[in-house]
Symmetry: C2
Subunit: 206 residues, 2 copies
């Protein structure tokens, strides 16, 4: 077993997160045990709980790392100011990511904090930064709408896409369907709807 | 322990399904064990496996019963031929149902058959009958579209709504958001999009 002084606190933190990711990617969140993480990194459980409040805290940070990786991937997507095309590109990137790390992605939604424990601010901010990208693609067709409305449309799209990925992941799609083809139909129709609402409010002089 | 002859095969079948529903509604699908079901109905596990191929088969039938109950509820919704209004009414009914039986509803999506075992025809038909109701509400604005296209739009809507219910169920909505308010935004925008596409194809003489 390694001695604590072999690694800095930061190195240890990353060792634990990386080991957790490997376990979850193989066995899913249900397979994650503090004992196993400690064994994999060659430290005691005591050292682990010196780094993280508890297993929930460790999982939140592991999930935060997944969100950061997705953020890094979608940041590289080239955007065009054409909402339909941009959303398709973002969704393509998002689906590639969730297909590559399905169990890590599921862990974000499988994990529930105890009811009396709110989601930490830093975690919500990571989610908001991802949503802000969807919001920015919608902005050109929602110039008349408030930030709150744009935010709600981004969240509706995001949750809808989430439904498709979950159903694809659990093998519920029909022959010939993929989350991507369904998402393209959603995006096209939704963006057409937003444009038509925008046109109506313009022609009504609103 | 009751003797097998105390109940007909059909009565036993329903006893087992009802007992399973009670367990799942209390403890979730993960709490369901053949031993417990047998104990609750006062018969042996042998009797249970005389009625169902295995636990997967029993769960499929229990989930089928949940779909039947939802079908019964949505069949009572009064429809108006106004797609937005009709979809809102259906979603309201669907959400009331999933709020009343959250764990039974989740069981439908948590349960995975082994990979080599296809979803039984009778189960898929129950899902199709539910989707057919969404399709029928969309029909007035999709007169130019093929059955396949209408079917795809119904599935996109259904999966999107599913995403919202799942995220609501796992406490991921923001303050002030409910699955119903999000669903209303989705329905309004999506129906506007379908109408605008329909208008475009009419004005193009297609």
């Amino acid at each position: 077993m390694a001695r604590r002084s072999d690694h800095t606190r930061e190195e240890l933190w990353w060792l634990a997160i990386d080991a957790s990711r490997k376990i979850v990617e193989k066995e899913g969140l249900r397979g994650l045990r503090a004992r196993q993480i400690a064994r994999d990194i060659g430290y005691t459980i005591g050292t682990l709980y010196n780094l993280f409040e508890d297993l929930d805290d460790l999982i939140m940070h592991m999930n935060g790392e997944t969100l950061d990786q997705l953020m890094e991937a979608v940041s590289k997507v080239e955007l065009t100011q054409n909402p339909t095309m941009d959303l398709e590109r973002l969704v393509h990137c998002y689906l590639s990511f969730t297909h590559e790390y399905p169990k890590l992605w599921n862990a974000i939604f499988e994990h529930k904090l105890p009811e009396d424990r709110p989601v930490p601010e830093w975690f919500s901010e990571k989610v908001s930064r991802l949503l802000a990208i969807i919001e920015s693609t919608l902005a050109p067709i929602l110039s008349d709408q408030s930030e709150t409305e744009i935010h709600q449309h981004a969240r509706v799209l995001w949750m809808s896409l989430f439904g498709m990925t979950i159903l694809e992941g659990s093998g519920r799609l029909q022959d010939g369907e993929t989350a991507f083809t369904l998402a393209k139909t959603l995006i096209k129709t939704y963006v057409d709807g937003l444009k038509s609402e925008q046109n109506m409010s313009v022609s009504n002089g609103l």
